[in-house]
């Protein structure tokens, strides 16, 4: 199967796990525990890429704290504005402590009290006691356990390889193709089952939460393979703050002072800062040294964006393909980030479920032979930017996309009159700019594929935002400022049909509706403003 110009390395494995953060490491370890051969591949380095290096801790509720479990469920229903998936909310909360114990057994140090118990809450906040556990060494120390455990278990680790496309044959996913950092040679990984754990996607923000390598790669690969995608209309609230003394702090949920010296309440789904800017009262401060920069991430709410899991195993609906972590939209928290710390524990819980299920599927599956013609087609398409003599550089195109996506009035304070022309601009970039991307070296080939993925993600975000003709959680439409029950007690789904992006509504089960006789203001206590 080798070719003189671009020789490829061919690897065979039972379970291929793509992405090396919480979800990927849990998927790899749990699949390996089932006794199958597992390969874990990351475009960066395990425990050192995506968003996983940066959390301060994780959420985990001890099973005996039934009071906390009930409190959190209520918080998720109301805070998530009733479109959280209650089955997954409960699963994530109930399985959180077992996954926390896994991390402890893998050697990840968490803060303890004098007696040696894990009791110290993450930020000393009363409300968070008994559920948020802080790292002993602070953010950045996750690599200690995340990489070591898969290594110890005998998982094959491939780093600095970006998986660019899945191989689909006879309706099933039978592997994936990746690119490397040092040459234009390809990696072809044949797998009986594949788990996507590559996070969600943003638009390479600089100055907000560091997530420049999270470019919706998994969502787009799964979408092209026929999976359903959801949650693209929502927005994360960590839209950034810059300390004047250098460095970055995050969060816009604390009270701020506007340019006129008046206090601005925090939270409001993180939109209060944007509304102040919209009214001409930016910049916004906290203390003397901290300025809210308003760096929109383009990321949706953790757990509420990505590949729709069709069952409790996080199957994508495409045979052989599973998703976990921020690649998978369990909708455990709904339209706003209603349970702090869920990002990590949701990734651990879904990673463990998807990894176990993928291993069981692999045991009953025969390794397929990859069709030579299909492989040639994939190779040509993947290497096209490298074969071009000229065109547009990925960094320039990314800059254009940022110009379109970054202003507060596109992804945060939305209006149909702005979303529609932006969608048309993104479609132009998709059709006229992307095919002319060119890569001068392997580093730029990675950037070209990331740029392609970000542009398709932008199209999804515009279409989903236009489609939901109401406001809910972090999705705020100036032209539709109110929640509309029961019409929009529903999820916005995206699927490729005959090569076209189609958007449709999936109603939530009626038994999950809020009591519609409760007055609007009480049903939605946390409205913007």
């Amino acid at each position: 199967m080798t070719d003189q110009n671009n020789p490829e390395t061919v690897i065979e494995t039972d379970v291929l796990v793509i992405g090396g953060g919480f979800a990927g490491c849990f998927a790899a370890v749990k699949a390996r525990e089932q006794g199958v051969d597992v390969t874990l591949v990351s475009k960066g380095n395990i425990g050192r890429s995506g968003m996983s290096p940066f959390p301060h801790g994780t959420m985990a509720v001890p099973p005996e704290r039934t009071d906390k479990i009930e409190e959190l469920k209520d918080q998720a229903h109301v805070g998530g504005e009733y479109i959280n998936n209650r089955t997954w909310t409960e699963r994530v909360i109930k399985e959180s402590y077992a996954r926390f114990q896994d991390l402890v057994s893998w050697g990840q140090p968490f803060l303890k009290d004098e007696k040696g118990d894990f009791v110290k809450p993450m930020q000393g906040n009363q409300e968070q006691q008994g559920r948020l556990w802080a790292l002993e060494d602070g953010p950045g120390s996750w690599a200690k356990s995340l990489k070591k455990q898969p290594q110890k278990m005998g998982v094959h680790i491939l780093e600095k390889i970006m998986i660019v496309d899945l191989i689909k044959q006879d309706g099933k996913i039978i592997g994936a193709v990746g690119i490397t950092r040092n040459s234009f040679d390809l990696y072809v990984i044949k797998a009986k089952a594949t788990v996507l754990c590559v996070g969600s996607g943003g638009f390479k923000p600089v100055g907000g939460w560091p997530m420049g390598d999270v470019t919706a790669d998994g969502h787009i690969m799964a979408y092209k393979a026929g999976a359903e995608i959801t949650g693209k209309e929502f927005e994360d609230f960590h839209n950034g703050m810059i300390r004047r003394t250098g460095g970055i702090w995050l969060s816009n949920i604390s009270p701020m002072t506007n340019a006129e010296g008046n206090s601005v309440p925090g939270f409001g789904f993180g939109l209060n800062a944007d509304l102040e800017a919209h009214a001409g009262r930016a910049p916004l401060y906290r203390g003397k040294d901290e300025v809210f920069s308003g760096v929109a991430l383009g990321l949706s709410v953790h757990t509420a964006e990505g590949i729709w899991p069709v069952d409790e195993d996080c199957s994508s609906g495409v045979p052989g393909l599973y998703a976990a972590g921020d690649s998978c939209a369990t909708m455990a928290v709904g339209a706003a980030y209603s349970m702090g710390g869920t990002g990590t524990c949701n990734a651990s819980v879904t990673g463990a479920r998807a990894g176990t299920a993928a291993a069981k599927y692999a045991k009953q599956t025969v390794q397929q032979t990859v069709d030579g013609q299909e492989l040639s087609r994939l190779k040509d398409s993947i290497l096209m930017p490298a074969k071009r003599k000229g065109g547009f550089s990925p960094n320039w195109v990314t800059q254009l996309l940022k110009n379109a996506m970054m202003p507060y009035y596109i992804l945060r304070i939305k209006h149909g009159q702005r979303l529609q022309p932006t969608l048309e601009l993104v479609e132009f970039m998709r059709d006229q700019i992307c095919p002319k991307l060119y890569a001068r070296d392997p580093h730029e080939l990675r950037l070209a594929h990331e740029t392609n993925n970000m542009i398709i993600n932008a199209e999804m975000k515009m279409r989903a935002s236009l489609f939901r003709t109401e406001s809910r959680g972090t999705h705020y439409r100036e032209d539709y400022p109110r929640r509309v029950d029961p019409d929009w007690l529903a999820w916005v789904m995206i699927k490729q049909v005959n090569g076209k992006m189609t958007v449709f509504k999936k109603p939530i089960p009626q038994e999950w509706w809020p009591d519609l006789t409760i007055p609007y203001e009480k049903r939605y206590p946390a409205t913007v403003g």
């Binding site: 890429s49 950045g140 560091p210 997530m211 420049g212 839209n239 970054m406």
Partner: protein, 73 residues
């Protein structure tokens, strides 16, 4: 405010920063066997390289403001 320099006098060529950088900004120089800033425009200011460097050889400027985009300004 991006990665500004790697002190060649302090760098021992251990490659830790190359492993730490999620953005592929840092590479090893084949000739000097030390770390070099190959793609500074892709730095996302996460500081993982600075945190991980055993020699404190990496300097990320707090002064220079890169022309990043903001939601308003």
């Amino acid at each position: 405010m991006t990665i500004e320099r790697i002190d060649i006098g302090l760098c021992i060529g251990c490659g830790t920063c190359v492993e730490s950088c999620p953005m592929d900004v840092i590479r090893m120089d084949d000739k000097t066997k030390k770390a070099i800033i190959k793609y500074p425009e892709d730095c996302q200011l996460c500081k993982l390289c600075e945190i991980d460097c055993p020699q404190n050889a990496i300097y990320i400027s707090p002064e220079k403001v890169s022309p990043y985009l903001t939601s308003w300004g």
